[in-house]
């Protein structure tokens, strides 16, 4: 029954990752140089160490060689990592969740082919390439109206015993570092997913052009006559409802807010103005309280959505409302953390905007969460449709 005790394993995971962040992540990522937007090289060594701790294969079931952590644990870990660095958190969250999703869907033969390398190589990351250049996934104009069905521009043409894939993908998370990429392409039977190893001829990956507006690693993929065997076709089944999935991104977002808040709370107890520590001024105390309230509440919402994603039966028995709880957690967290980051930075005065200090980085990181994808405006329209039980069918992935 209702119980908010974490398991000893969950608490241990949190402590271990928190220590890792203090000892191994922050010393690398909070260096003045790396706080500047212009230098956000991935801390490869940190990622490797995290992989050795099992964080790269966190969600992968134990019988497939992973840690088998539940959704709540994955969210706890992602939040902790993001307190130290959003890029580290984003890369690991993407590979870990794709590990679960892709390897669970693979045939035994596919698992045998890709599994060992994935488990053994600490630099082995995964990516899912489903977004096409020019795609606009925002609900917007289609709110409460039937959406036109989109046809993928990337095609997979049957050729002998395999397929030839041509096309381009955009904004592929982990694209530049992935060793295995699941590519969505249009077949004569509809959209389908193909496992494409990074070294496949005809596949080219470039970093996302333009100003940096993502966490982790992100890139564009070009596919020119990429030939894959039919055995690489993946039956992923129905796409899960994104609004009810594991809230890893909100957890990452929350980590940003916590980093900003912890910095401000510490500084407010050190900095003296007006003859007393600034935390003792009502104005600063109230500001910190408002931040803390909203972050606490956001975490509660994220954990609920995380647990709910593992327990659909709790919606069925009406313990939880039949709503997209992950979307709710995302939109609340995005607005909360952006405001928390700004308020925290304000406590630092001019230091809050200096590029060699972390506060401006937290604001920027929070702004990315608030504005990427469709942004909060779009999330709210999706929630609005759910409130009246207006259901949208997701495009399905065809399988052979």
């Amino acid at each position: 029954m209702y119980n908010l005790h974490l398991s000893p394993e969950q608490i241990e995971f949190r402590d271990t990752v928190r220590d890792f962040v203090e000892d191994e992540v922050k010393p690398v990522t909070l260096k003045a140089d790396r706080l500047d937007l212009n230098d956000r090289t991935l801390p490869v060594e940190v990622l490797r160490k995290a992989s050795q701790m099992g964080l790269r294969t966190l969600a992968l079931p134990e019988d497939l060689g992973g840690v088998g952590a539940d959704a709540l644990t994955c969210c706890i870990v992602t939040e902790e990592l993001a307190v130290g660095d959003t890029d580290v958190a984003a890369v690991l969250a993407e590979t870990s969740s794709l590990g679960l999703r892709l390897f669970s869907a693979m045939t035994p033969e596919q698992r045998a082919r890709f599994g060992p390398a994935f488990l053994e190589d600490d630099d082995y990351h995964l990516a899912l390439a489903c977004r096409e250049p020019g795609d606009d996934s925002a609900l917007g104009i289609n709110y409460h109206r039937p959406a036109a069905r989109m046809r993928l521009a990337t095609t997979a043409t049957r050729d002998g015993g395999g397929f030839v894939i041509d096309g381009a993908k955009d904004c592929v998370a982990n694209g530049p570092i992935a060793k295995l990429i699941a590519v969505e392409a249009q077949t004569d039977k509809g959209p389908a997913l193909f496992l494409v190893p990074r070294e496949t001829p005809g596949l080219a990956v470039t970093g996302q052009p333009g100003p940096r507006w993502y966490h982790g690693s992100c890139g564009q993929i070009s596919l020119k006559g990429v030939r894959v065997p039919a055995a690489n076709l993946l039956s992923l089944g129905d796409a899960s409802d994104n609004g009810r999935g594991v809230p890893l991104y909100p957890a990452l977002n929350l980590g940003i807010g916590r980093a900003a808040y912890e910095a401000a709370l510490e500084y407010a107890q050190l900095r003296v103005q007006g003859g007393r520590r600034i935390v003792e001024h009502q104005a600063i105390g109230t500001k910190l309280a408002e931040i803390a309230v909203r972050l606490e509440v956001a975490r509660t919402a994220i954990w609920r959505a995380a647990w709910a994603s593992d327990h659909p039966d709790a919606t069925a028995d009406r313990s939880l409302p039949d709503l997209p709880l992950t979307t709710i957690a995302r939109v609340f967290t995005a607005e909360t953390v952006y405001r928390a980051a700004k308020d925290s930075a304000e406590c630092f005065g001019a230091m809050g905007v200096m590029r060699d200090m972390p506060l401006q980085k937290y604001i920027h990181d929070a702004m990315i969460c608030l504005h990427t994808g469709g942004g909060s405006a779009d999330d709210k329209l999706r929630i609005a449709e759910a409130l009246t039980s207006h259901r949208r069918t997701q495009p399905m992935l065809a399988a052979e």
Binding site: Q273, H281, A345, F348, A350
Partner: protein, 401 residues
């Protein structure tokens, strides 16, 4: 009641608008994205603007300046900020301190400093107050901690003063030629009674610029540390009286009941940024489409555009009113209130603009994102709680009358 502009005011507005459109806008995004703090500045644009009078707009005509009124200054700041907020500030920062020279310096100092300032298109001014351990205590000295505030020490030796200490976050420090420096001349007195203001030239022995700060926004705007190691400043460079530095709120400088110029400056600059954001948002909403339909057709986009314009026009009304009040020496807390308001407005408006430009995927509109970063600068200059408490205290004082 009359909101129309004089021909002269209108002419300055148009000159600044054209300069912003033709000279500033083409360079602003690339300068903003320069990787290091030194690559963001451009002397050429300073010179071009100076030749049009933007650097010396506030210098009295008798000293060769433009001698414009506050309404004109507000108009020009807003127009320049429509091109780039930090470039606008680089010009108006000189007005701030040329106001100070005109108000507080003696005739000899005016001759010695205003003339060369007017003559040299690369002559920029600055003022150093903040120190590593003294920020808000300088703005609002605490009653219960009389020794709080700046620590930079000045000791008299004959006809010279020897300065030791450090200033930080000083605007124009890395590019300025002349600075007003507040220093403690009586370490045992409270801030207001123990501080003296000095004019310090760039080449003063013992004075050097330290670190150059790299801000997330306002990247054009130079900001740095100042280090004084037995810096020697002639006694003739004391502004006003010894132990009485607080020119801007004392007899010599106080004409508007608060800061002479700084409050209006930040509010007017924000107005320009907001005007730019409103234009961008409308253009984007009318041209960008989703499913073949202009974004403007969507209610949520319309509501955002409404809010942006609503706040911007409220700010415009407020700014023009306080500029007029400054010109007419009306005493009130309004300038401070307008400055606080401009913080809330510039941030909300630039954030809404970014939202409108947001949308698909992992891409960002460079210009919209820059404006948000510029807008955040207001948090520590114009809208932090200390700035708001300061204005509240003034409101209480006014209410007592």
């Amino acid at each position: 009641m009359d909101f129309s502009l004089s021909n002269e005011q209108r002419a300055w507005q148009m000159t600044a608008r054209q300069f912003a459109e033709e000279e500033i806008k083409p360079i602003t995004l690339d300068l903003d994205e320069a990787p290091d703090a030194h690559g963001t500045f451009d002397w050429e644009i300073v010179e071009k603007g100076s030749k049009l009078g933007f650097r010396t707009l506030a210098v009295p005509k008798e000293f060769g300046g433009e001698g414009t009124d506050y309404v004109t200054q507000a108009l020009v700041m807003a127009e320049l900020a429509r091109g780039d907020s930090a470039i606008s500030k680089t010009f108006s920062q000189n007005w701030k301190w040329s106001h100070l020279i005109a108000q507080a310096c003696n005739p000899e100092q005016k001759e010695r400093f205003l003339r060369p300032f007017v003559a040299d298109h690369r002559f920029l001014l600055g003022k150093g107050i903040t120190e590593p351990t003294a920020g808000s205590d300088n703005r609002m000295p605490p009653k219960d901690a009389p020794k709080a505030g700046l620590k930079l020490r000045a000791e008299r030796q004959g006809d010279e003063w020897i300065l030791n200490g450090e200033k930080c976050f000083i605007a124009n420090a890395p590019v300025g030629k002349l600075f007003f420096i507040d220093a403690r001349t009586d370490p045992n007195a409270p801030l207001r009674q123990g501080t003296t203001m000095f004019l310090v030239e760039r080449d003063t022995p013992g004075f050097r610029i330290g670190k150059v700060f790299n801000k997330s926004g306002w990247r054009f705007y130079r900001n740095g540390e100042m280090i004084f190691e037995n810096a020697r400043v002639p006694h003739a460079n004391v502004v006003g009286h010894v132990n009485n530095s607080d020119m801007k709120t004392q007899a010599a400088g106080d004409r508007t009941g608060g800061d002479i110029f700084g409050d209006l400056e930040l509010a007017a600059n924000a107005l320009g940024v907001c005007t730019d954001a409103c234009e961008q948002a409308m253009r984007h909403a009318k041209t960008a489409t989703q499913g073949g339909v202009p974004l403007f057709e969507q209610q949520m986009v319309q509501l955002k555009i409404n809010k942006m314009n609503m706040l911007t026009e409220a700010l415009r009304s407020f700014v023009m009113r306080i500029a007029w009040e400054h010109d007419h020496k009306v005493h009130s807390a309004n300038a401070g209130l307008a400055m606080n308001f401009s913080t809330d407005v510039i941030q909300e408006v630039t954030e809404l603009n970014l939202e409108i430009h947001g949308g698909a995927g992992c891409k960002v509109a460079r210009h919209a994102e820059k404006l948000v970063r510029d807008g955040f600068i207001w948090s520590h200059l114009a809208g932090d709680t200390v700035q708001r408490l300061k204005v509240a205290a003034r409101l209480a004082k006014m209410a007592a009358h």
